[in-house]
């Protein structure tokens, strides 16, 4: 059952990342990977909310496997993030590459804190 929850979450998260990435990338012309940044921050917000809700006892811990390990895990990505950063660096946009890393890490971590705080405020 645990495996099924993770697999279903993963099967939902990856296409959701692809579609979100596409939607964001179609709305700007720059080389900066806003799409991946968006899914990564959204996934971090989601996992923060979920962790807060589970800790507050408002959500069953099985939801962690479906929505946390599966959905948010597959919605977010490290491989695309790192490859896009490499692309920026190799195309001469070193500043944008560094900004992508700094903004992704700080915004992702901040989104977890924000989600966690929001869940605590709602159910804590």
């Amino acid at each position: 059952m645990n495996w099924l929850l993770v697999l279903v979450g993963g099967a939902l998260g990856a296409p959701l990342r692809y579609l979100t990435d596409r939607a964001v990338q179609s709305r700007h012309e720059s080389a900066f990977p806003w799409g991946t940044l968006t899914v990564n921050v959204l996934g971090c917000l989601g996992i923060g909310l979920l962790t807060g809700a589970v800790l507050a006892g408002a959500a069953p811990s099985e939801l962690r496997l479906l929505l946390g390990t599966g959905l948010c895990g597959a919605l977010t990505t490290y491989s695309t993030f790192s490859y896009e950063t490499l692309r920026l660096a190799e195309s001469g946009a070193a500043l944008q590459a560094a900004a992508n890393v700094g903004v992704s890490v700080l915004a992702g971590f901040g989104a977890v804190l924000l989600g966690d705080a929001a869940a605590s405020a709602a159910w804590g």
């Binding site: 993770v6 993963g10 990977p33 948010c72 597959a74 490499l86 890490v105 992702g108």
Partner: protein
């Protein structure tokens, strides 16, 4: 001689006509390939965390290694994918977007850092936050470079024959 920049994005690059068109021609097969890959990738990641659990307050090695390995693999995959010329239209969506995108995770990485902070381990949290991006970027840079060098050697050997 400077190396040419990688031309293609693992997820989607709307500057490339083939990527722009891929959702129009066979939406179900494309999203199906991404979903199947995502399920396999997430399942593999879950398996690694079961085999290699992180003790309370400890450095999350399993997720750090999953992310580093996934970044090394995408470097190899994308270089080979570009070398193929006209690969199957579902290969990149399945492997790049699905399997490797689902295997690696940004959310668990960030949430683990938060958990470490809450457990009163700020130094371990900071080490996780800083070390994983460095490992991941080193992995993708080295793997792409080594794969390109291997491809060039094979090309040269073929050309000499």
């Amino acid at each position: 001689m400077p190396e040419p920049p990688p031309a293609e994005d693992p997820d989607v690059d709307l500057h490339l006509p083939a990527h722009r068109a891929e959702l129009r021609s066979g939406r179900a097969s494309l999203l199906g390939a991404v979903a199947l890959g995502g399920a396999l990738g997430a399942g593999a990641r879950y398996g690694v965390t079961l085999l290699w659990p992180t003790p309370h307050g400890g450095f999350p090695w399993a997720v750090a290694c999953v992310n580093t390995a996934g970044c090394a693999l995408i470097g190899v995959f994308m270089v080979l994918h570009e070398e193929l010329g006209s690969p199957h239209r579902l290969l990149r969506p399945f492997v790049g977007v699905g399997v490797l995108g689902g295997f690696t995770t940004f959310s668990t990485y960030a949430a683990d850092t938060r958990t470490l902070l809450a457990a009163g381990r700020p130094l371990v949290a900071l080490a996780d936050l800083a070390a994983v991006p460095l490992l991941a970027l080193a992995a993708v840079a080295v793997s792409a470079r080594v794969t390109r060098a291997c491809v060039a050697r094979i090309r040269n050997a073929e050309g000499a024959r």
